[in-house]
Amino acid sequence: MERELTCIICPRGCRMKVALEGKEVVSVEGNACPRGKTYAVTECTNPHRTVTSTVRCEDGSVLPVKTETTIAKADMEKCMREINAAVAKLPVSIGDVILSDVCGTRVIATANKNA
């Protein structure tokens, strides 16, 4: 089986052709760099995404956050549910851990926020 993919690793957005045998990737074409190949393999076997969102702070405002590493694409909804339920204590510094275990990673603040 063959699959066409657009690489999302960088803004270049390479169009790649991936040959698959069952779930196994046999070859990748069209990638301009090795990261593309890695992406193609992950994307065809167990796709991952970074989730960026906001969490509610104790004062009612919102704070931007992200997952520290990518998570399985299938877990995005679950991740959002946990992010939505969280309340951040202020003040927060950029990089502070807001949730320590969500879908195998941590959710960290991407901005500073004073109380």
């Binding site: 906001t54 969490v55 509610r56 919102v62 549910r81 939505n84 339920a85």
Partner: protein
């Protein structure tokens, strides 16, 4: 018990209210919308016509010329921008020229001053961007421009400052004759009693009249669509450029506005539905086509910032319908163009009718005809601005970048008569959100100010009342 209830908070009702507020009278304005100036007043050509259009001897002609004369003083008292930029009616051929000659005669008859026919070279000298196919034009130096909703808001604000009451969301559903006047009800049953009624209900004036037992006239709406271009384009022409009129109206005009935008329009389509204010693809295309014919340079439609549609109240008599029914019910109906121009004179005329029918007038001792201009801050010198900012730092914070409107001006609009209740209300009073980004930047800040001033949540802030909410809830999943 009010002495006079004015039904309709448009520019006509507003001018009448202001005129009456100079006397010791209890007056009220009943407006069916949530804000004033929401009907034809909100969406028209913003022109103070010189007065050569209307048929000699008609009420339209008389009140137009008189209103045009009064407008400069009225706008000065109300602190409203007004510019006597003059108008040109352009002709493309011999037939147009004949028509212009007739207009010249009619204008002179109506008492319009300074009218003159121009040849091609004179037109080009006056307006270098006019189409080279234009062969002649009628020049009316007394033609002027004014912002109609600014004028209406200022007139009603001034009337309120002098004691007039404004009832919003007051859609009249019935009018009952009582012993010494009328009982006026709205749909939810709330009533207002008044000795006299002035019916200035625009396209709905015939329906209001029928409630009072007057079936003598009818009104139908005529749609006019407009396109408004960025302030960069305001200098395209300096005069208001009309085409030689036809049976359907004055054709597509091209005019600078007092705020230096360029206004193109209106189309002219007779309608049935008095609420249908949709713009149409055909209408906007017509505006663009005819406006392009008027100019030799390409009209910069890419600089268009908005398009809108207004419904003009066209009466079945061909003239303004201003009369008294039953001794106490004054119709001010069919006020289509030149209604804005005539509005100060209409108010004067209505005052006369009311006195004739027994309304006693006694000057109010503390009447103040002056309303502080709302654009004063913008036009002040740096020193004056700093004196204001020192007292009130909110005048140092710019909320609307495109129109450079400060927080102080927006708060003033929210706090002063007639108070702005929503985003569009703020926009009409301050121009915040009316510039080239159309509220993209300032919208969220204006929402915050409205929520704060009225002590409500952001979810309660609306664009124009009713269900026109700006946000439907908070993020983080409380979206039901």
């Amino acid at each position: 018990m009010f002495d006079v209830a004015i039904i309709g908070g448009g520019v006509v009702g507003g001018m009448i209210a202001r005129t009456l507020s100079a006397y010791n009278l209890h007056i009220c304005i009943l407006e069916k919308e949530r804000d004033v100036a929401m009907g034809a007043t909100k969406a028209n050509s913003a022109i103070v016509h010189a007065g050569f259009d209307a048929k000699e001897g008609s009420l339209k002609a008389r009140l137009n010329v008189r209103g045009s004369e009064m407008m400069e003083q009225v706008t000065r008292e109300l602190g409203v921008k007004y510019r006597r930029n003059g108008s040109l009616v352009i002709g493309f051929n011999g037939e147009d020229k004949k028509h212009l000659e007739e207009l010249l005669v009619r204008g002179n008859e109506n008492g319009v001053k300074g009218l003159r026919l121009l040849d091609r070279d004179e037109v080009q000298a006056l307006e270098p961007n006019i189409s080279e196919s234009v062969t002649c034009a009628l020049h009316a130096p007394t033609g002027a421009i004014v912002c109609p909703y600014e004028l209406c808001i200022a007139a009603i604000g001034n009337a309120m400052d002098n004691g007039a009451a404004l009832y919003r969301d007051f859609a009249v559903s019935s009018i009952k004759r009582t012993e010494n006047g009328y009982e006026i009800s709205r749909y939810n049953g709330e009533t207002v009693f008044a000795r006299y009624i002035v019916n200035a209900a625009g396209v709905f004036a015939d329906e209001i009249a029928r409630m009072a037992g007057d079936f003598s006239f009818s009104i139908h709406p005529r749609r006019g669509e407009y396109v408004l271009l960025d302030k960069e384009c305001g200098g395209t022409v300096s005069h208001t450029i009309f085409r030689t009129p036809s049976k359907m109206g004055k054709g597509i005009l091209v005019s600078p506005t007092v705020d230096n935008n360029l206004l193109l329009g209106p189309t002219s389509v007779d309608m049935e539905d008095k609420e249908e204010k949709e713009t149409t693809a055909e209408g906007l295309a017509l505006v663009m086509r005819e406006a392009s014919e008027n100019l030799k340079i390409p009209v910069p439609f890419g600089k268009s910032i908005t398009s809108f549609c207004g419904l003009r109240a066209v009466g079945n008599t061909g003239d303004f319908i201003i009369n008294v029914h039953d001794g106490r019910f004054v119709n001010v109906a069919g006020i289509e163009s030149p209604g804005l121009s005539a509005s100060p004179a209409i108010a004067e005329y209505v005052l006369g009718l009311l006195t004739k029918h027994g309304l006693c007038l006694e000057k109010k001792a503390d009447y103040n005809p002056i309303r502080e201009p709302k654009h004063a801050f913008r036009e002040a010198s740096i020193e004056e601005k700093n004196a204001i900012i020192e007292k009130d730092p909110t005048y140092g914070r710019i909320i609307c970048r495109c129109e450079q409107v400060t927080e102080g001006e927006i708060l003033d609009a929210i706090r002063s008569n007639p108070t702005a209740l929503d985003i569009d209300g703020v926009k009409r009073r301050t121009r915040s959100g009316m510039g080239r980004c159309q509220g993209g930047f300032c919208g969220p800040y204006v929402m915050e100010l409205l929520a704060r001033e009225y002590g409500t949540s952001m979810e309660c802030v609306t664009k124009m009342g009713g269900g026109s909410v700006m946000v439907v809830g908070k993020t983080k999943g409380d979206l039901s």
